[in-house]
Symmetry: C2
């Protein structure tokens, strides 16, 4: 099973098309400008000797530019723009010029500590930046058909491959990401060395004594030791959990440490498992997935703690202080997608969809130029998206996710097509050896659960069309060419329609999309006595701007509250809001008393908006979980 690549998919619907346009026309230019004014691009020019000056910013800032190139490459494919292509090529040229003779490419080390390459892999993100360069090179090649950056990436990957591995030097990325990048590179170049290097990084991690532990003995350690040391030692002893280097992956049972690193590692490991069939890795990934299901915000956010930007313990999911980094939700999408490709089970796509429509989508403002690094589930006010960050990993990450959205919609094997996301548009592929197949989707998802899929093989042919039954969907009907299937076959969370398809066959999926009240596992302490509203894949929240003064703190939904969806095209670029009545305490009732035996409640009209759209109308209060 493989994804139908973004290059073969178009998107054309009411929900995503405007967002992808904003991504192309607003977000990516805005981010390029931020990369310029913060010295991120001139760092490469300086490293290339094209201009004078010192390195500016944080030592891993190269990665932001690489990610932005990846994002821009995708959008050049979906939203061609020659002027933009020119600008992108200039940046790529500058990066290429900064590559050292031996293939090394990292503007921080080249400019600041040229003698100290590879000495502090645990903390200094050289391999992480390399990974993003590789992903950029692959994307630019796939999307724009140009191989300049791919060649740069290959030269650097070759250097890394010649440096690290069995019989060579010990080395692993402190911040993962290169694992999945090397898999992409191996696939696009058909070079097995890159796959082997990725496998080495995945399987060697957690050796004892660990390469990161040995590095710490260097009294002249380069770079950012000060900032990271406390994550690598406890009571003076080396401790690997922060970067998932405490145990070999095959023995890891809990999601620990920095959440983005964890997600990238697990995603890369799933790629390797898919490639090699390694049962130990598959087993570990299964166990880790079971565990992440106990550490997952209802938004698809992971990593509740700001302390380690990461995981804590099962069921510890505080709302106000939720870290839930945008990048971690994106990483979860990468992991979940690969788990689906490995197992064919729809639950992975449920989590992907949840993260996509909620915890990742909340990371960018509706106008495309404001970003959340953290995505809390409640706020007492004061939180607004920023145009940029000193550590700016999230903005280009969301841009590249959206740019490559097409990749997540469909998958196929020889005789099967999977429709995973309900997104209007089309896909083209080849099925049953040599039949060209086009599919079109018409839907107003996520506002509606109705989906019309037209199947257009160039000749009639038999294959199975698998339509995902989302976890949120309890009732649906499915018909082919107007004839309802009374008892459709289902497996692994998909409706399986096996038949001989001819061009113009129409499949109608109608999913009931009621408003659901969701309750959290009782071990999630912050949510005891609370519920959240969800409709389809969208989680809802209450902002004080829509609800009466004072309602925020005490808003409760009575047990039999009727809550209705209403589409409002004027609000928040068009959203289905939820309207109903709720109860709030009459605070004045308390007067100067702290405790009352029969407090009055007031009935008020309440309005919930999709969580992704919060904080687009000022820095007010917000709550997902209400009483």
């Amino acid at each position: 099973m493989k994804a139908i690549p973004f290059t073969n998919v178009t998107i054309n619907d009411r929900f995503w098309s405007p967002r992808l346009m904003t991504n192309s026309e607003k977000t990516i230019p805005h981010e390029l400008e931020q990369c310029r004014i913060t010295g991120r691009i001139s760092n490469f020019a300086k490293a290339a000797g094209l201009m004078d000056g010192n390195f500016e910013g944080i030592f891993f800032n190269d990665s932001d530019v690489h990610k932005l190139i990846e994002a821009a490459s995708y959008t050049l494919h979906t939203h061609p723009n020659p002027e933009w292509e020119e600008k992108l090529n200039e940046v790529i040229d500058t990066i290429a010029n900064s590559q050292q003779e031996d293939g090394y490419l990292n503007s921080y080390f080249t400019l600041v500590e040229p003698e100290k390459r590879w000495q502090n892999l645990g903390m200094m993100h050289e391999l992480y930046c390399a990974g993003h360069l590789i992903e950029a090179g692959v994307a630019h090649y796939q999307a724009a058909g140009k191989d300049k950056l791919l060649q740069v990436a290959c030269r650097f990957a070759d250097l890394i491959d010649n440096t690290f591995g069995p019989g060579k030097r010990d080395g692993l990325p402190g911040h993962q990401g290169i694992e999945l990048a090397l898999v992409k590179l191996a696939r696009v170049t058909s070079e097995k060395r890159y796959m082997a290097l990725s496998e080495y990084f995945v399987t060697t991690r957690g050796q004892s004594p660990h390469v990161f532990e040995k590095e710490l003995q260097n009294p002249d350690l380069p770079g950012g030791l000060g900032a990271y040391q406390h994550h690598y030692t406890r009571d003076g002893k080396y401790e690997g959990t922060y970067s998932q280097a405490h145990l070999p992956l095959k023995d890891q049972k809990e999601c620990v440490g920095h959440a983005v690193r964890a997600m990238y590692l697990y995603a890369g490991a799933a790629d390797i498992a898919n490639e090699t069939g390694d049962d130990e890795i598959k087993g570990a990934l299964h166990t880790l997935w079971q565990n992440v299901e106990k550490r997952l915000y209802i938004t698809g956010g992971v990593g509740p703690s700001g302390h380690n930007e990461g995981f804590t313990q099962d069921y510890e999911l505080p709302n106000f202080s939720a870290y839930a980094e945008t990048c971690a939700s994106i990483g979860l999408i990468f992991w979940a997608h690969r788990m689906f490709l490995l197992n064919g089970v729809s639950r992975y796509m449920d989590v992907l969809e949840t993260a996509l429509y909620n915890g990742a989508l909340s990371g960018v403002s509706l106008d495309g130029t404001g970003f959340f690094y953290q995505n809390p589930l409640a706020s007492r006010g004061g939180r607004e998206r920023s145009p940029w960050f000193g550590c700016a990993c999230c903005p280009p990450n969301i841009a590249r996710l959206f740019g490559s959205l097409g990749e997540y919609i469909y998958a196929q094997s020889e005789d099967d097509i999977w429709v995973n996301l309900y997104v209007g548009g089309s896909a083209s592929t080849t099925i049953t050896s040599d039949i060209s197949l086009k599919l079109t989707q018409k839907t107003d998802y996520p506002w509606s659960g109705d989906v019309e899929i037209t199947v257009m093989p160039d000749k009639p042919t038999s294959f199975t069309l698998n339509l995902r039954i989302p976890g949120w969907c309890k009732e649906y009907t499915i018909s082919v060419n107007g004839e309802e299937l009374s008892n459709p076959a289902t497996s692994l969370g998909y409706i399986n329609i096996q038949r001989q398809w001819k061009s113009g066959d129409v499949v109608d999926l109608k999913m009931d999309m009621p408003v659901d009240r969701i309750y959290a596992h009782p071990h999630v302490r912050d949510n005891l006595g609370r519920s959240a509203l969800q409709r389809g894949p969208l989680l809802y929240c209450f902002e004080d701007i829509d609800n009466s003064q004072g309602a925020f703190e005490t808003l409760s939904l009575s047990d039999n509250a009727t809550i209705n969806p209403v589409y409002n095209s004027d609000l928040l670029n068009g959203v289905t809001i939820l309207k109903g009545t709720g109860l709030v305490y009459d605070v004045s009732d308390w007067d100067n008393q702290l405790y009352l035996s029969k407090p009055n409640t007031n009935k008020i009209d309440i309005t919930a908006i999709p969580y992704y759209a919060w904080s687009n109308r000022g820095a007010g209060q917000m709550a997902v979980w209400v009483l």
Copy 2:
């Protein structure tokens, strides 16, 4: 208005009599033994030169012995015991022997830093220990009729009075308590100097620059600077809030800092206001009381934070981490009692009663030899009372409170009697100039709201009998000699029965005592969506030992839950428990899911016990506020 003193009151009922017996026979001997084995008593012997050795323990440990003498003196009156009296006299002799020639008495300074008296008043508790010595001297004189310790106290008070005050040295207690002690001393000795010294301590506090600030400039500061410094400085600058020395009392508007210190200060200030009629102090106390009503646990606990053992901000009343020191509830009782005496309003007695039956009473185990320093409102297990503490302020404080309980039941003025607490027993006093009056109370309070009061003046005489209507009481009937008063006069929260009383007149008060569900002000974040059960003055809690496995975390009372009181004489020395049904989530229902749209709930039988009785059957889980 004044309290009818404990010497004129007897207690004879089912609730308090056994507790006071335990206090006399178990708690006080246990505490004396603890004082012995921890060197608290031998510190005095060493300071007296009666034995060799170094000071042992914490620098303010003298105060524990003083408080214990105060407690034991009360119980010698209520529970005479010649053997015990002998032991007490020995301790008093040792303390008296440790008094220095000039009257100074503090075993720490005498043994450890004799040259550094009075140099670190802010932190070293000399005046605090002096206050407890004075209270012990007064109690021993009042209860046992012996003036030896009173003379010791007077000599020390004279030294303090000669040392500090207008035209003498600046000096104030870092830990208050001496203020109310000096008022007691002034009243028992009729020496106005002591009252004036107390007034000086109350009214001078908060001067700028403050005496504590000036002390900090001493590079050779005695004693405990290390432990306390962070409470007295912020960003390197002096900050007086920890000990309520940030502003003159008359300008203080919020309860701040260390809660016990605050309570003792406000209690002493109320004494002074009562004595002097000072309107500025009265106004400040009114404002501070309004404020404490926003910072008060439903148990009568104050001071939520362990950081400063004290106050934080309005409505910040976390349950699990509640500090709510036993001593702070006792201090609140002192303050509330004096506020009642100053204002005649029953609300103060409501708070006193709440603290007495809940937050203070929880401070001691049913067997009288285990103590809580902190009184949380919820526990995930592991909390048990200790036989003693390094800082052992609470155990003797609870012993002296119980020993002097009689003092809080009645008050009188020339033509009025107030019955404030419903406690079986009797009181004797003189009313309307020269009429001897005896009152008896029969009641099974707090288990029942029925109270029978027999009034026995030695001649018929007119006065007003004022019966407190507790804040919890919504319905009651009152009759005199069997005849119901259809519309009794009430004022300030009392039923006022003005008539000519003759011996044998019987007043019957019947207060409905339903089970109430109490809700906290919506600004108390931890209690949103939760309620607590109360019946009469008793707050209830749920312990996991009485409730099904797993019920603790998710227990909810449905809106129309019927909860019935049942007296159980075999449980916890006899308690009325509350029984009913509640709902808990079926945790197994969740299986490996974090979020469910329709979780099942199980109906379970639930049992609540009085909060004061929790943690007498092992260190299980407990919750006051449930869903």
